[in-house]
């Protein structure tokens, strides 16, 4: 793909915005192939999951000591990425940062897809998924697990609302304009547009609700990742037993989420030919935002490793030495360097905040974020307080089995499929909001 269409100073009319945004929704080229590919990957993953269901969790690499493996690390990653919805459309939206308008919907789509799959990943990790409702029926209020299930469900619902509500005016346009849509989709547009005709009363009413949700999602968004961190921090294990785990996870989530958003922005800009909307300015601004959140995350990392590293309590020392110089050193240092320190150094230069370089940096940041979660979850499980004794050899190490890896690939394919479908049936750039911002008058007929 190439990004040669330079964004020119074009005068945007409402008609042009409408056409530019709605065109990719009607033009299918290459999309079927991509969806077929994703469905194939998902089918292979589903087969692996069937094997796991049939034979039990013994087919994974997890044993008594490492009982949280790849799945939980992946779950934390998915929750982290989903937090971008709250960062972009809610925090920046409430602060009236106006450049986020064209990318806020992409952020919400990512949030919905990743938090939905995060919930699924937990179920995939269960040996007896048929008992999942027992968490609600018998869950203890004292356990972070009950809180986690609750906040993830709540975050999913609010994110979905924050995706749909600001889209109501656009869907009213879709209902009218997209004539080639299948009847089911037309019906969906008709239902979800709620008879919106952009009367001043409706406009005011709608934005009041959106603002309410924006405020509401801030505590829920903070809670979703703080509670996820408490799943770890509420135990006395080395590496997890720290007081800053909540903000540390939230800061890490902003890094991972921003990186995912930049990658998505780049792909939509190029594939959907949205250079007039997702401009170099947006990448530049996102780059600056990324430097800011990376610095916050770096600050937490320094606290998280320097303070226990200075004291080297006997349990911590085993854990930290394994991370710093031991068998986890490569994964640990590459996630710190490639996912945090180097991106900061590069992205303070304007050159590296151009669309292509920043997209490549973001891929590294996102991959490092994934490995960082792996390094947070597994080494601690391998260093219990009591020595590992009299157990089979495969209890003492952990490496994900092929079934586990395949099921994890499924989760990524599923998230991408959800994003693809949402971006196919909904306009990825808000038409009316941009028109509002540019002061262009428009009418929505019924």
């Amino acid at each position: 793909m190439n990004d040669d269409t330079k964004s020119k100073e074009t005068t945007l009319s409402f008609e042009k915005i409408k056409q530019d945004v709605l065109r990719p929704m009607q033009n299918h080229r290459g999309l079927e192939l991509w969806i077929v590919f994703l469905i194939t990957v998902i089918s292979v993953g589903a087969w692996a999951y069937y094997v796991q269901l049939r034979d039990g969790l013994g087919v994974t690499g997890m044993r008594d000591y490492v009982s949280w493996g790849l799945y939980i690390a992946n779950f934390v990653f998915f929750v982290a990425v989903s937090l971008v919805g709250m960062l972009i459309s809610s925090i920046l939206g409430l602060l009236k940062v106006d450049w986020i308008a064209p990318i806020s919907r992409i952020a919400e789509i990512i949030a919905v897809a990743f938090v939905a799959v995060a919930g699924l990943v937990i179920v995939l990790d269960m040996g007896r998924p048929d008992r999942v409702l027992n968490v609600m029926i018998h869950g203890r209020f004292q356990s972070p697990i009950l809180w986690d299930v609750t906040v993830i469900t709540t975050y999913l619902v609010i994110s979905a609302l924050l995706l749909i509500l600001p889209m109501i005016p656009d869907l009213a346009i879709c209902k009218k304009e997209i004539k080639t849509a299948p009847p089911m989709l037309k019906k969906l547009y008709a239902i979800l547009s709620f008879g919106y005709t952009n009367t001043p009363e409706q406009h005011k009413h709608l934005h009041k609700m959106i603002r309410t949700l924006m405020v509401l999602i801030v505590p829920v968004g903070l809670a979703i990742h703080t509670v996820t961190s408490w799943l770890f921090a509420a135990t006395l294990r080395n590496g997890w037993d720290t007081t800053i785990f909540g903000p540390y996870f939230v800061a890490g989530a902003f890094v991972a989420g921003s990186a995912a958003l930049i990658i998505a922005m780049y792909f939509f800009r190029v594939n959907y030919k949205l250079q007039d909307y997702i401009t170099e300015l947006h990448f530049d601004k996102m780059g600056k935002l990324m430097v800011a959140v990376c610095l916050v995350y770096l600050y937490f990392n320094v606290n998280e490793f320097l303070v226990p590293g200075y004291k080297m309590k006997s349990g911590d020392s085993v854990h930290l030495k394994e991370l710093f110089f031991g068998s986890w050193a490569i994964m640990f240092w590459s996630s710190q360097l490639l996912g945090n320190i180097l991106p900061i150094i590069l992205m303070v230069n304007k050159r590296f905040r151009m669309p292509k370089p920043i997209m490549i940096i973001s891929i590294f940041v996102l991959a490092s974020a994934w490995f960082k979660r792996y390094v947070i979850v597994i080494p601690t499980m391998l260093h219990p307080h009591l020595p590992i004794q009299n157990v089979p050899d495969n209890y003492q190490h952990y490496f994900p089995s092929s079934v586990e890896i395949t099921v994890t690939v499924l989760s990524f394919a599923l998230a991408l499929l959800i994003i693809t479908v949402l971006a196919k049936i909904f306009p990825v750039v808000p038409i009316c909001e941009i028109a509002d911002q540019k002061g262009i008058d428009y009418k929505i007929e019924e």
Binding site: V157, L165, G195, Y196
Partner: protein, 303 residues
């Protein structure tokens, strides 16, 4: 110079000797060898030592003098053999304490008293020292169907055991001079309340004072086992009883109170309240917004 070379040669020889000694044999220092068993070879001490021996040593070394040790390489020594018992008390003590190769260390597993008791027990097989053991020669008649009967004096918390066996002429006779163990079941093992010299008298009777401060369960009950300490002569003879003479206690179950570690029903009020308030608060706003969304179409008809 000549002197120096003699000294050097002597030193070399000494070191060489010490080296070979330590490589093949136990290295026990002279001071350690000189240690003497501070406990006398009383019947009680020997019997205590036997108990310790049977739980800690027998599994490898077998019974003393019987040479029925485990077939290991090198073979565990027969600890009742004269070959072994030529060693001093201190030497045996040192070996039990530090261990070597397959012989584990008992430094932490056995306290000093138990170690010395075992040595007293082993010493009782020593032909040269056997005289030291004061034993009252008691000859009990040949009996079968040995049993222990128990009388409980609840008021004074006294237990009277009566050990009898069936003689060949069909009469029951008391067995004299047999050591009995009175064991109370505790959380992690058994408490021996037999006291010193728990031997039956001429009538086969033994009176034991039950500890007045021993805690029992809510009803003051404890599980008692009385048995013949030495199982060699009559086999395993034991009698089990539930006594209601201990001090009643009222143990507090930490699961009964509201706490973070409690069951769901016993969760602290503040955490239930936070959860419910949070869920109700946030979800009512969500439902309110959902309701408001449906108002949008009404506004269209009005305009």
């Amino acid at each position: 110079m000549k002197n120096l070379s003699t000294i050097l040669a002597t030193l070399v020889l000494v070191f060489a000797f010490m080296n070979s000694a330590s490589a093949e044999d136990w290295k026990v220092s002279a001071t350690a060898k000189k240690k003497l068993n501070p406990y006398e070879l009383s019947k009680k001490n020997i019997s205590t030592g036997k108990k310790v021996y049977q739980t800690n040593c027998k599994s490898c070394h077998g019974d003393p003098t019987k040479a029925n040790m485990l077939p290991l390489v090198p073979a565990p020594a027969d600890l009742g053999s004269q070959n072994f018992l030529v060693q001093s008390d201190g030497e045996i003590y040192h070996k039990v304490k530090v261990g070597k190769g397959a012989m584990p260390t008992f430094e932490k597993t056995l306290n000093d008293e138990s170690k010395w008791m075992v040595i007293a027990y082993l010493r009782s097989f020593d032909k040269n020292k056997k005289k030291a053991v004061v034993t009252k020669a008691v000859v009990n008649p040949e009996v079968s169907d040995v049993k222990i009967e128990l009388d409980i004096d609840s008021e004074h918390k006294k237990l009277k055991a009566h050990l009898t066996g069936l003689k060949k002429d069909g009469k029951r006779a008391g067995l004299e001079g047999i050591e009995l163990s009175f064991l109370i079941k505790r959380a992690f093992g058994q408490l021996d309340i037999s006291g010193e010299e728990a031997y039956t008298d001429a009538k086969g009777e033994l009176l034991i004072q039950f500890p007045t401060d021993l805690p029992g369960d809510r009803e003051g009950q404890v599980d008692l086992t009385i048995k013949i300490t030495d199982e060699d002569e009559y086999g395993v003879i034991e009698e089990k009883r539930v006594l209601s003479i201990a001090v009643p206690t009222n143990p507090k179950n930490p699961l009964d109170e509201r706490a973070m570690w409690g069951t769901r029903a016993n969760a602290p009020i503040w955490i239930i309240a936070s959860y419910l308030l949070g869920v109700i608060g946030i979800w009512s706003v969500i439902f309110l917004v959902l309701f408001q969304v449906f108002q949008l179409s009404k506004m269209r008809t009005k305009s």
